[in-house]
Symmetry: C2
Subunit: 388 residues, 2 copies
């Protein structure tokens, strides 16, 4: 399984480490402590669904120079041993007496002089994936070394995808695209929504997804009430707009896009909304360039909707994508993150179709110096109809 | 979709709140701050796969008296509005200026007098699911109120499952049991392991799982090297032992058990190991009683293996189960958590079959006053063989 647990050749990871260490140097960090599944996968290639178990913490220490060190439960030693890392330190977790904190403190103390600084992601979209009480113990053990926020350090590196990463996301998008093409095989009037969700996941797996981490959606006349609910037993009805949104995963890389379908002939309101969403996306695709800010993309999408008489929905209208279903930046009025070539992004305009109903539309792209390239197979310009 | 987002009748949640508040009273907590998906689902019934997106924090504040308050991104307002909660406070997330911290601080300040205490899970198996920097801001805003560790407060309540919860877990186990029964339909000599993993997930969905959060396993002669790796393209070979382990989900409740299969005739070593694992489990099933400690169960399983000449594998040999793939306690030599009636647990003995190879065996049970009741359909006593 070596070729799969690594995902990429070792030079990909060495390049990532070098880019991270350049950022650490600029911020005068002697080590970076990583605890999140995405950050650990990014730096090591360690890919497992075992993160689903909250019982054990996992740590990667990136020193200012040299290769990263894994400080992990022994249950992960075999899998980590198939990555490019050579310094793998383990303990038998879970251990209520000391769940890796002594080993981690020793590792960090070895990498960071007493006058040095330890970086830790503490900002937006980050979580500390270890017990807070254990972190307090660690901090005390390592005093006077300060832990400083290293969110930007890791985000500025991770947000620019390599060619190898873009190829993976393109493949995941293609898998989901084939699954969406099969929706008319199993979505029809009278079919319970929860059954449609199951069949869609089955289609994504059959088309090559390793697993399906996210499916959401909704169905209703002229749109749906929200976009994060699980499905219930209610049957699809003639006149509904069905939306399915998925984050399928292949080799650890996500897609995140949705598709809309009319059950029976589409209503005028649904057709108009789809038209506005599609064309607002089309215009934004043409306008995207490095140097625009995230808030500018929000403005472009809103303007495209409003030019067609549609009312933009609240919330963000797209975001980053890659190692998790959503990454920074967020296309909101308040996010001024500059777009950079190599970013993989979703465009996700939504509009209000009537009181309490919305429609959303989503595509995945990679940004190049000369503009956007679609990674998801483009949705049809007209809302597709499934015979009711 | 109201009946699905609630999962249970409101009285189930009221009972949970009352039990939590009794524990808070004993610990002199004026409020409990919850950020984890499991704790929020437990107290509200808010079930979504949207946790897959790390972009937004979500908060539930349990006051010392009265109903819990949700402080959540507005994207979740519709779904939370279908739960039993009536006090739902929202902000437009993500917002880099203030991502809910002001609203949360006001909510907590309203529930906790200046001399009061705020409980927060900080111990083993917990994570703070919000940016650490935002937590520091929150702590400063609420000073001098201390945040104190409330891990035991929530774990002592959650670990005793209600009859309604046990029924859900039993159903999920039955779904996975039917999927395991279909493994001989798609696992065979020459079939790549990654294809078997996909087909198994498809089978679990077809049998009624809402989604499949976890599949792992391995295959090799006389056993496998580890149990958390994703599958690779290597084909099953005659003489392999195939193990599949799953955490399928139905209505938010997990199963977590595995099954072994011999591809072609089983080797003597594999048969002996399966015999030892099965009988060690059988003896432990008969011996389980409330009042035993988690470490006693570890001892029982080890003794059962050793009595049959098998060498126990390291690590834990079982754990709690329910709202996540794994819950406390852990069947290790160091966990002295007492078992209580109503706990749902996995028995997961593993043994070393030869250098670098193990076999593991897992069942799910609920503990009653008079002993264990199986929730998973019992594995066959003899290692099943799939024609090679």
């Amino acid at each position: 399984m070596a070729e799969r647990s690594l995902i990429f050749a070792a030079r990909e990871y060495r390049d990532r480490a070098a880019r991270l260490q350049a950022g650490m140097d600029a911020q005068r960090l002697d080590a970076l402590l990583l605890t999140a599944p995405t950050d650990i996968f990014y730096t090591t290639g360690f890919l497992t669904r075992f993160w689903e178990s909250p019982a054990r913490p996992w740590f990667v220490v990136m020193p200012q120079a040299g290769d990263p060190v894994a400080v992990i439960p022994s249950i992960g030693a075999a899998l980590m041993g198939r990555t490019w890392l050579r310094d793998i330190r383990t303990w038998d977790a879970p251990d209520p007496r000391d769940d890796g904190i002594g080993l981690l403190a020793d590792t960090l103390a070895g990498a960071v002089p007493a006058g040095g600084r330890i970086g830790l992601p503490m900002g937006a979209e980050t979580h500390l994936r270890m017990p807070l009480a254990d972190f307090e113990t660690l901090r005390a053990r390592l005093a006077p070394r300060p832990f400083v926020d290293a969110t930007a350090c890791i985000q500025r590196v991770r947000e620019v995808k390599s060619a190898a990463e873009i190829a993976r996301i393109r493949e995941t998008c293609a898998i989901a695209g084939r699954a969406f093409a099969r929706v008319p095989e199993f979505a029809a009037e009278g079919r319970p929504l929860e059954k449609v969700f199951r069949e869609f996941q089955i289609a994504a797996l059959a088309e090559g997804a390793d697993w399906v981490s996210y499916v959401a959606g909704g169905a209703g006349p002229d749109g749906y009430g929200d976009v994060i609910s699980p499905a219930g037993p209610q049957p699809l009805r003639r006149g509904d707009v069905l939306m399915l949104d998925t984050g399928a995963v292949k080799d650890g890389y996500f897609c995140d896009f949705d598709r809309n379908f009319a059950i029976g002939p589409a209503s005028d309101a649904a057709r108009r909304a789809h038209h506005a969403l599609w064309h607002a996306t089309e215009e934004t695709l043409a306008a995207l360039r490095p140097g625009l800010r995230a808030c500018d993309v929000h403005g472009l999408l809103c303007a495209g909707l409003q030019a067609r008489g549609a009312t933009p929905a609240g919330g963000r209208l797209g975001h980053g994508l890659g190692l998790s279903l959503t990454e920074w930046p967020s296309f909101t009025p308040h996010d001024d993150t500059p777009l950079r070539a190599g970013m993989v992004l979703t465009l996700e305009p939504g509009c209000i179709t009537r009181e309490g109903r919305i429609m959303v539309h989503e595509e995945n792209i990679v940004l190049h110096e000369d503009g956007a390239e679609l990674l998801s197979p483009r949705a049809p310009a007209e809302l597709p109809e499934i015979a009711g």
